[in-house]
Symmetry: C2
Subunit: 224 residues, 2 copies
Amino acid sequence: MSERRPGEIPEATVARLAVYLRVLTGLVDASTVTVSSEELAAIAGVNSAKLRKDLSYLGSIGTRGVGYDVTLLREKIASSLGLTQRRTCVLVGIGNLGHALAGYSGFSSRGFTFVGYFDADPGRMGEPIADSQISDISELESVVESNGVSIGVIATPAEAAQTVCDRLVDAGVTSILNFAPSVLSVPDNVDVRKVDLAAELQILSFHEHRKSRGLGDGLVESVG
Amino acid sequence: MSERRPGEIPEATVARLAVYLRVLTGLVDASTVTVSSEELAAIAGVNSAKLRKDLSYLGSIGTRGVGYDVTLLREKIASSLGLTQRRTCVLVGIGNLGHALAGYSGFSSRGFTFVGYFDADPGRMGEPIADSQISDISELESVVESNGVSIGVIATPAEAAQTVCDRLVDAGVTSILNFAPSVLSVPDNVDVRKVDLAAELQILSFHEHRKSRGLGDGLVESVG
DNA sequence: AACGGCTTGTGAACGCATGCACAAAGTGAG
DNA sequence: CTCACTTTGTGCATGCGTTCACAAGCCGTT
């Protein structure tokens, strides 16, 4: 029944668009002009029907009998994801992970500019990081406000995460990427995505456990 | 219709069990004895009905009218996730991210032991990392085999990821956590989980984009 | 200009996940 | 023992996501 309004792209599709975008960038670099849904799906590791349905949310981009124009498709996806404008971000919590994130080239190459790196330890203020330096957490609000920062990345210990989150939101940040192992509560208009490293390993552990128990197919378990 | 066999826990539930486990560990530390589904759900940031359904896959653990015994529940979840035995892991690719992962205390505190850190650059062999040192990639197979490693973590550049993955699988690894921005192909019996940092930001970018366009509720869009 | 061969875009069916709402089951007071 | 109260466990309905299968549409050839 629920007619999806134009521009309403399902969450699951959005996540895959980012993957397609990366694959397409690779194809552009390889000077590929055209690609079929079958080929693209194979590279991206998905079913071709799913890929076509995903792309159909962006409008009719392909040419029947031919495929998709690689450059055009890439631009369409980038524009749907709002990647035509650079987005400014701040990173809070410069521990091991924070350093790694600051040094990750994939962010800046994909249109994200970090305008501030913050840590609660005053002793670390001024310490060089990426091509900038660590600022004290007290400057968080002013940097966010003066740069119109829309995305905040939290890489603090769990205890500090909610406080930092509240300060980011109060300062005007409307999207948060959380690496701290804690559940954040935010107003409705703020989006949060969480990356939980330990949870990832635990999920794999579950599958290991399952494999080592249930060896075989139609197993003994069929007891009345 | 499809009667789910005992022990068959849905994927979405498994992911949440890891969250519940963390919350419960916090409650144990706070000497909490009993918790209701309502309370636990609030802390974990989920709906209480969903939480009860999740837990019901582990059997009947709670006491009606009372709630769940915190310690018992935690043990049940840990055992379902296969966390009663320590699991051995290797980490391949010691760049910025690799270093951060090696230094992340959350892994070892949750039952994961890293028995090898590998990098392709021979010049870095012997360099200290965590409480161990970097090994050359050529030793990968022998370490995996002699330690019965079941989980491999890949933090290499995208170009190297598939090759490393193949070597891990050949050596006997059956679960892979991939931080490289590339799609891995593996045999059916191997599980892969992917963490794509740039994709996470792009997904947030999409929501920012959406928010800045579609301000307001029942909007103008209703054109015939 | 008509036809055969491809490939897209999508209606429809299916399956998994979520959330409601309530019966089942335990506790404690009187 | 009985009753009122609490909280679990779950049947059912709903909605979202995936997959199939095919009509619609484009291209090159004859």
